[in-house]
Amino acid sequence: MSKRQMFWIKLKRILRTGFFNFWRDTTVTLASVLVMMVTLLVIGLISFSSAILDTTLAELQNKIDINVTFITSAKEEDILNIKHSLESLPEVLLVTYVSRDEALALFKERHSNDQAILSALDELGENPLGGVLNIKARTPSQYASVAEFLENGNVISSAGPPIIDRVNYFQNKAAIDKLTKVIASADWLGFVAMFFLAAVSVLIAFNTIRLTIYLARDEISVMRLVGASTTYIRGPFAVVGIIYGIVAGILTLILLLPITYWLGGATANFFVGFNIFSYYLRHFLEFAFIIIASGIFIGALSSILAIRKYLKV
């Protein structure tokens, strides 16, 4: 028999023995798979939490903008002139003009449930709102220079008196900066906590598999004494470890479906439109890869490391 044939025969036997051990030792299999599932669930949740925080942060930064409100008597022509000069700035991504009438319509719509405000508006007789320019910069850090541009009065109308009522940048900026900091530290704290949890659960999975091999130590010494080689003894244990990882990984992926579905509505409300369930479905392949690969890695590595101790005979 050639060496290559022998290799395939050995591989076949190792795989077969591994599968048999997985099926026959029901209690040990059940315990190992469950413990491994907890570990993989933690790893899955880590991926989710960092995704949630990243999306929220991006969403918030996207919300930063500058609203320039004009006095009611400002001419539309002047406002459009300013719009033009703003658009010529390299920092500016987009300028949207909201006319007085549109602003009023928006205001009415926003307060359609509040009869008092609507009647007060009617009382007033005329439109109290000025036109608005909404400015979006390319990156958040560029808002400062845009605001400065507006402050410097480069945009004062030809007629003389200033037509800009107020620029809301500075109030918003403080709040947004604060929120950004909070999210960043939450992100960091979450990462540390999750890393700790992951390390603990990996150790627990590792120990469980070590215990299963401890239970088989007499068996290992018998195999040793009938002259089985190291690879031939270790192989089936590694196979069992890998099967634990794959089975636990698949069960975890299935278990995450109802969990994320259940949490989906809540996260969508809480984290600015981030639905954990649809995120899971969109990134399913990545999750499947991360979770199953971690399972295989933990299973195989702990088996191989744990068995070393009993192979010395």
Partner: protein, 226 residues
């Protein structure tokens, strides 16, 4: 064939298990090693299997020092030796068939050889009906017969049996001894450690008596005096 040359084994707690034992065993011999517990019988066998290293002297198998083997050579050497233990040491998660097949697989035998040899050796120990049972479903005598079948299946040069009848009743003991005798008649060297007087009287073969780590008598005629 096997030579123990002034072999000593002193454990780290300075208890002396073997004290300069010299012993040689010829091919096709049936040697019983007798003596009370703690006389050094098991240590002698363990040294022969390279499970432990001697603190002095050397053990030779066909003129090679077995403690000079590397891991691979040790594995190969162990496949030439069949082993039977008092506590059977079967693999609990494997059937009778698989227990025996495992030894052949470990020795790198083909599937065809396994399929033809396993039933054959089970017939020899009279266990054919139990081929698909697990060890927990067998009696002590049956387990020991599986263990002997496993030891035999690779056609070893030598069979080592350490108190093989220690856990068995007289009827099963008799059966096991008859099987060992049959194996020896077929040409395999047998090395048997026991403190069962009945077995020795039954065998009428060479007896080596040990006491406190020394060989106190080597009797070709085969009687158990204590």
């Amino acid at each position: 064939m096997i030579v123990f040359d002034r072999v000593s084994k002193i454990y780290p707690d300075s208890s002396v298990a073997l004290d300069e034992v010299t012993l040689s065993i010829e091919p096709r011999e049936f040697v019983s090693i007798v003596g009370p517990s703690g006389a050094g019988k098991t240590t002698l066998l363990k040294l022969f299997l390279a499970e432990e290293k001697p603190t002095g002297g050397a053990v030779y198998y066909e003129s090679t020092n077995i403690h000079k083997f590397n891991k691979k050579e040790t594995d190969a050497f162990r496949r030439k030796v069949g082993m039977v233990f008092q506590d059977f040491r079967l693999l609990p998660n494997k059937t009778v068939y698989e227990n025996i097949a495992f030894t052949m697989e470990a020795a790198g035998r083909t599937d065809e050889e396994i399929e033809s040899d396993v039933p054959h050796v089970l017939e020899l120990v009279d266990l054919t009906p139990k081929v698909w049972n697990f060890p927990r479903e067998l009696s002590g005598g049956e387990k020991q017969r599986v263990a002997i079948a496993r030891a035999l299946v690779n056609e070893p040069d030598i069979i080592i049996a350490d108190e093989p009848t220690g856990n068995l009743d007289p009827a099963n003991t008799y059966d096991i001894v008859q099987i060992l005798k049959k194996i020896n008649d077929l040409g395999t060297t047998v090395l048997l450690a026991t403190h069962n007087k009945g077995i020795i009287d039954l065998l009428k073969r060479r007896v080596v008596a040990m006491e406190r780590g020394r060989v106190v008598r080597d009797d070709r005629s085969g009687k158990y005096f204590v």
